[in-house]
Symmetry: C2
Subunit: 254 residues, 2 copies
């Protein structure tokens, strides 16, 4: 059985603590948090510490703190030659102090405190400095998820950029749509089946094939009616740029 220590108390750390606590094949030895009370709803007091200099032995140490703090936390560790990983999508493996064997254990999902996640569906992106450690990370990943990938730092950066497009930017499109609704006394609920169907389609059809709408059809009449309707200059600019981008993307593929 693999033993694990988690360092951190944010959303990702908390979701990992829950997942490892529920896993049959993992021994979650301890969690480190500067403010132990942040984890007290998840673990008994004896499993939480705020003293980083005195961590027990474990097979894997998972640093799940904000990107800017990873380097400092890894440097504070008082041991050498052990497997230490971070969970960040946008941070290279090399940010970790090289006194330990370095790796990455990046769960590609959006985590919020308010919403439970079925961790078994979360893709885990694994990377290790030394090839023998990859097997350990595979075993650890399999204990909590059905889905894991070997992704190197260059790929992970690409993946993080792609995730910003399909997640943060997509959510912003929902925000802009909900504002247009609010300004016209339309319940946003009316758009929810459409939102769901578009996401469903993307999981069963290549997105390029799933594209619909006035931009794709080259329906200039509707496009100019929409631009007339949008009073806000920023919305006009976004509408124009994305319409152009849809048309350009699809022309390139013909």
């Amino acid at each position: 059985m693999l033993s694990v220590i988690i360092l951190g108390s944010g959303n990702v750390a908390q979701h990992l603590i829950k997942a490892f606590s529920a896993a049959a094949d993992v021994n979650l030895v301890k969690a480190y948090a500067r403010h132990p009370e942040k984890l007290s709803h998840l673990l008994p007091p004896e499993k939480i510490t705020n003293v980083i200099s005195n961590l027990a032995d474990a097979d894997v140490y998972i640093i799940s703190v904000s990107d800017d703090a990873i380097a400092a936390v890894s440097a504070e560790l008082q041991f050498k030659g052990k497997l230490v990983v971070h969970t960040s999508g946008s941070t290279p493996l090399e940010i970790l102090d090289n006194k330990n064997r370095r790796g990455v254990f990046y769960p590609l999902q959006t985590f919020s405190a308010a919403k439970a996640i079925d961790f078994s569906t979360v893709p885990l992106c694994l990377e290790s400095e030394f090839s023998q450690d990859l097997q350990t990370l595979h075993t650890l990943a399999q204990a909590i998820s059905k889905s894991f990938y070997h992704i190197d730092s260059k790929q992970r950066q690409a993946l993080h950029v792609a995730a910003v497009f399909v997640s943060n930017f997509v959510n912003h499109m929902y925000v802009l749509g909900s504002e247009v609704c609010a300004q016209n006394n339309i319940p946003f609920d009316i758009l929810k089946p459409l939102i769901k169907e578009v996401a469903d389609k993307a999981t069963s059809l290549p997105p390029l094939q799933a594209q619909t709408g006035p931009a794709l059809r080259g329906d200039e009449k509707t496009i100019s009616r929409h631009l007339d309707f949008l009073q806000d200059e920023k919305l006009k600019e976004i509408y124009t740029l994305l319409t152009y981008s849809i048309q350009q993307t699809h022309e390139q593929k013909l």
Copy 2:
């Protein structure tokens, strides 16, 4: 029982034909199509006609053709004073010939030939020139869906614009994300649980609250790393504009 005649053979017309054929309380009298063979997999030959001058009597005539053809088809109808509706999100009620009582029966969903839709979840946006016809459209909507709204032409235009944001533009974000993946030998599958979760969140949380990511956090280090990573000028421009828009939107709400 309401009797209905559908004019058109595109995706929306076909989905409506399926839904009305399965509805207990609607009599689908006939469908008109210039090319009857397009509907032959849905209806028996005696229920399809390509002669518009000789349509039977019905309570509601539903014109479900391309936006540009609605006016012409409604003008070709040989009767007067009957309830005639179109199914377009972006076309005003007034486009219909005023010899008949005009209305709109707009299903707000993305339809493709390849993917079945549970019509009972599709929101129907109803509008009528004369108030007494609204009840007829309600009854018709209820026969095929659990969800219908009274939406006037101004609101419908807003809704169509909002739908472009949450549907066409969202799908384009999926396209751009999938291209970044393809260029870096990353399977797009890895992003699908994230896509699903972001859409799920939008249906349970106001999108403004669900926003996450480097733009929202003001994480300039990650933003500039992402911009360095993106070589394509169009992608850089989209990333920059949407990052700015996220920040501006959230500042306004504070």
